[in-house]
Amino acid sequence: MNKVYNHAVDAIADINDDAVIMLGGFGLCGIPENSIAALVKKGSKNLTCISNNAGVDDFGIGLMLQKKQVKKMVSSYVGENAEFERQLLSGELEVELIPQGTLATRCMAAGYGMPAIFTPAGVGTEVAEGKEIRIFNDKEYLLEYAFDADFAIVKAWKGDTEGNLIFKDTARNFNPLMAMAGKITIAEVEELVPAGELDPNQIHTPGIYVHRIFQGKDYEKRIEQRTTKKLTD
């Protein structure tokens, strides 16, 4: 059973119009750059994208927005993107805003085969509208459902031919959660190694969750907020 693909284009070839896809990353950190480029090239339309953010105008999911490939964004925060705002205000784009922890946990729930979870996030706010509230230990919780995505597309640091993934620093973020949650999970990695090279104790995402893997290239890894201090500080 070969999980290894040579190119992003092949790995995403069956992501067609109307697909529900998850995309890993937080801001521009840890986003699947190669897969996004391939999706833009393929041009699939009417996509529902579950992703914490929507990229910036000319990078990340912003590139898909430019080509009007996205019907709906399911995110926790969608600032930093003028084209996004334009499509939203004109009614071309639908947005569902979800608290960040709820978003993360609904991905995890899918990977753990839990159909729903309870979280207090959003109780007493418009997020709770129409949702079931349940009290445990005198505290109110919302019932939130596991996500159901056709594809999850994630970016890892290293991966092996069995689909095992290791993430680097805070580029981990939503990636391992979404990797668990896709009906088909596609992982792009900076370095693809033969099975056996990764320490079994250090795997973040076991290969059972990953259906396709390829080594990406030319990562730009754009920085959204470059904050530094002088050596003399």
């Binding site: 925060y77 007493g124 580029a171 904050t227």
Partner: protein
């Protein structure tokens, strides 16, 4: 005299205790990290998935794979740990984070907070704010006492869409430190030189003033 933003952060830093795990929001809350009292050890949590957030990297050493929840490049420290965003909010939800500091547009005298949405304006989203306010045991709001129009941000009921209900424990503004009690805002401290009358005038929600209100003490 009203506090500067730095002084608000400094006053909040006095609430820190040794061993605290702390989540600092964007804006004034971030500045609290600059005033951690000597002799105590505080671990900063960044909700994208990091415990032990260090300072900004030295010029040229920034790493796109290492950012905080404000998407700023940062560093790790000895003893840091990295995890996914579900575990990050898991530890928040489980009450393991001792203190959360965040900004607000409005706070009510029953502890409600509004800080994510202004009707009619482009809504960017709540990010992790709703999770944080719903889960943290100990939340301090750092904000200005009034909005740019001069209207009080400490209300009897929030007018903006809520981020969370009955969750804020303390508010520190440029004028005052206020605890949120069952009976409303309780004035605890005044900014140096700021009168109780001014605070009363600028607080629209129920304000409790008991006895002499001390001035904040800075070193």
């Amino acid at each position: 005299m009203a506090l500067s933003k730095e002084q608000i952060a400094k006053r909040i830093s006095m609430e820190l205790k040794d061993g605290y795990y702390v989540n600092l929001g964007i804006g004034i809350p971030t500045l609290v990290a600059n005033y951690i009292p000597a002799g105590i050890n505080v671990v900063l949590q960044s909700e994208n998935g990091l415990l032990g957030m260090g300072p900004f990297p030295i010029d040229g050493e920034e790493d796109a794979d290492l950012i905080n929840a404000g998407k700023q490049t940062i560093t790790t420290l000895a003893g840091s740990s990295i995890f996914d965003s579900a575990l990050s909010f898991g530890m928040i939800r489980a009450g393991k984070v001792d203190l959360t500091v965040l900004g607000a547009m409005e706070v009510s005298d029953s502890g409600d907070i509004a800080n994510w949405k202004i009707p009619g304006k482009m809504v960017k989203g709540m990010g992790g704010a709703m999770d944080l306010v719903a889960s943290a045991k100990n939340i301090i709001v750092a904000m200005m006492h009034t909005n740019p129009k001069g209207e009080s941000k400490l209300l009897s009921a929030c007018t903006l869409p809520l981020t969370g209900k009955h969750c804020i424990k303390k508010v520190v503004t440029e004028l005052a430190v206020l605890d949120i009690t069952e009976d409303g805002f309780k004035l605890m401290e005044r900014a140096p030189g700021v009168s109780v009358e001014e605070i009363m005038a600028k607080t629209a929600g129920k304000l409790i003033v008991h006895g002499e209100i001390p001035e904040m003490q800075f070193d």
